[in-house]
Subunit: 218 residues, 2 copies
DNA sequence: GACCGTCTCCCCCGTGCGGGGGAGGTCCGT
DNA sequence: ACGGACCTCCCCCGCACGGGGGAGACGGTC
């Protein structure tokens, strides 16, 4: 029987590409897609895929967190194949610690992509040589701002709602009116958001929202 | 008759994704693919596509060079739609200077991608689909031809520089230090930027910068 | 029952921000 | 020679913002 795969990536284009590449393989079947890590667990429970092809950077819950969540909560977890661009290989180490089984670069050729899926499905772990080499040299430096944003972005629902409105240019008073709460309450939420995002002011918070994909341009 | 498209991207995954997205459209047909800018000219000559979807970053000849080459050497050149994930807005200007007709982010939704292809095929120039239109309507300028985002917002060089730093989360004092001018000067520029963008505060200005593609989310 | 996280609201307080003016300088095109 | 952008710096002023506290109410968990 074919290897079943669940695709998790916030970019529809990448999902379409992976689907096209993998479905061209007779022994691989794409059984589902998700646009964010937050949606993964129920899908894994329902679809029971052999492999989850997981993007690293996603709006609500990144691939690292999602990997941890799946491995922690699902009884017979699927293999996790982390899909990433070579630019953000700072994530490699984190992903491996989270329990990912394999690593794949988006710029890989179709045959390599399919090969990677087969390998992790069989229980082999695989890494891309270049990535591994670099993580050895990179590991040790501290400053990783983009990572910090995603990791600390443990926003509550209300905070996320406030951030969304902040990212639409609303003032605290306007947000308060919109949410039908007091201005003090909004200030409180804003402060939490700033703290969790490591932002100094609302402008930096909005930047983080865009950069992390929490809100999308266009 | 359908709009014919030539895909130029070094990553097969992206080509597969674009092909999947575009071929789902009844009025768009992918007539060819190339993995590098160096291969574009003969393909354009032979296939005569309406639109070339061109990646910026490629091994042998990048999208900017390839765009120049095509427009310089082909008699009736196709429309060039530059496709990129690249953060650096320098590429936007370079691409537009090179004669590109449109600009598209890879993280766009399928409908937007298809829409972008149709628009440039019809001779409309577009930078970032929904956002630029917003700018155009808001500032009501009539000048349509492929101009930089800068000129659409009518920002001066200095103002654009200040906006770029604002969009990186810098305070007025930090911008002043960076540009080696007085804080009052920065305030002055910021005020101009806010006025020209129709923004109430720096947060709204930064939002406009992202939405217009003046800066890109990474 | 005790505990914790979340949402809600409240105080004080300093300051960065933005609006409204103005003014001197250069460089440009006419 | 003159106007007109543009960049630079300056004044006053009001206020939204953000920090640092705290507190009551609700819903879960242990």
């Amino acid at each position: 029987m074919p290897v079943t795969v669940l695709l998790v990536d916030d970019e529809p284009l990448v999902r379409a590409g992976l689907r096209a590449v993998l479905e061209a393989q007779p022994d691989i079947e794409v059984v589902g897609e998700a646009a964010d890590g937050a949606a993964v667990i129920p899908l894994v429970r329902r679809l029971r895929p052999d492999v989850v092809a997981m993007d690293v950077r996603m709006p609500l819950m990144d691939g690292i967190e999602a990997t941890r969540a799946v491995l922690r909560t699902v009884a017979e977890p699927p293999k996790i194949l982390v899909v990433t661009t070579f630019e953000d290989d700072e994530y490699v180490y984190e992903a491996l610690r989270a329990g990912a089984d394999g690593f794949l670069l988006k710029r890989a050729r179709p045959a390599e992509i399919a090969h990677a899926v087969r390998l992790v499905a069989e229980g082999e772990s695989l890494l891309f040589p270049a990535s591994v080499r670099r993580l050895a040299t990179r590991y040790g430096d501290g400053a990783r701002p983009a990572r910090a944003v995603l990791e600390r972005a443990r926003l509550t629902e209300r905070e996320a709602e406030v951030l969304r409105l902040m990212a639409r240019g609303l003032s605290n008073a306007e947000i308060a009116a919109r949410l039908v709460v007091g201005a003090e309450t909004v200030k409180s939420h804003v402060s939490s958001v700033l703290a969790k995002l490591g932002a100094r002011d609302r402008t930096q918070a909005v930047i983080a929202a865009y950069e992390s994909g929490f809100v999308e341009a266009g």
